[in-house]
Amino acid sequence: MDHDNLRDRLPALHDGELGRKERTELLAHLAACAECRADQERWERVAGAFLRPPPPPTPAETAAFVRRVMARLRPQAPPEAGVPWPGAFIRWMSPALSFGLAMALVFIMWSGLKSAAPTDVLLLINGEASGLARMVSQPWAPTADDMLVMVMGEG
């Protein structure tokens, strides 16, 4: 392996991520190459100066920490292990069913307002712009009695 390839592997050597064979090869190269050795030492100096682990907590600090976390958990409900079927389905479907029902009601009301005359009665009306046709085209809805009077009258 050439110098550049070996140099690229220096971080992996520092991190302990090389296999035994690669490690041996790189260590032999380091012993002979001042440039790579300087690279390696430079990073070790930076890590040693700025990336030191903090002191571990004492047992008393851990005990106090556990108490604080548990005190904050108490007001909360224990976590559920997931919502079982059919609960999840119902929870998911409820908004869709409510919306569908609301839309159906709106449609029924709208079609009721549009015309109170049954279709079969309208089909019986022959001729253009008959009294009944004019009546059902009014914005107000005719009653069945109104329509009966009109049909009888026209007949």
Partner: protein, 188 residues
């Protein structure tokens, strides 16, 4: 009891099972939060939040990875979110720090890695690290301070092994680049 038994205990509404998990992972989580955030009070609060998030998210834990890896991920994400918030509020620039503390930085780099450190030097080391980007600071902490393997870092950060190597390489290059002046001076 192993982690899986403790997790089952938490799901069965046994508070002591969760207390045991907190006890077991406290030192790891607090070390990560302290190393990344470099502020004792912030780290303590962050560590508490990590465990609370873990508790609330436990129903989503399916056991595809180990509990510790899953907890690493929660802790890493939480620290990263906090760091991004802190980075936005950061006022001390790298250039200003170099101008004010150049001698101190030189002293830190020259000191042996295992030497006992004064409070002032520890504080200066923290200020130097706060100049790195949140992503670089987190990955350097996970690798150099927490000692996680590339595989463990990939699981904690939810990325590929190649992404871990590339990010580490960039983080180290960036850090060394900032300190180039001091490192070259010392070599002469």
């Amino acid at each position: 009891m192993d982690d899986n038994e403790l997790v089952a205990g938490v799901r069965a509404a046994e508070p002591e099972a969760f207390a045991e998990l907190v006890r077991k992972y406290h030192s790891w989580v607090i070390a990560l939060c302290s190393s990344v955030l470099r502020d004792r009070t912030l780290a303590e609060d962050a560590a508490q939040e990590v465990f609370l998030k873990a508790y609330q998210s436990l129903p989503e834990f399916r056991g595809a990875s180990s509990f510790s890896t899953w907890l690493y991920r929660i802790a890493s994400n939480h620290c990263l979110d906090l760091l991004r918030g802190l980075a936005r509020r950061r006022t001390e620039s790298w250039d200003a720090l170099l101008e004010l503390e150049g001698e101190g930085i030189q002293r830190l780099l020259a000191a042996p890695a295992d030497e006992e450190r004064s409070r002032e030097d520890a504080d200066l080391a923290r200020r130097v690290l706060t100049c790195l980007s949140p992503e670089y600071r987190l990955i350097l902490t996970l690798r150099e301070i927490q000692g996680l393997t590339y595989q463990e870092i990939a699981a904690a950060l939810d990325c590929s092994l190649d992404a871990v190597k590339a990010r580490l390489r960039r983080a180290r290059r960036d850090f060394e680049g900032r300190l180039r002046h001091f490192l070259e001076t010392q070599r002469v």
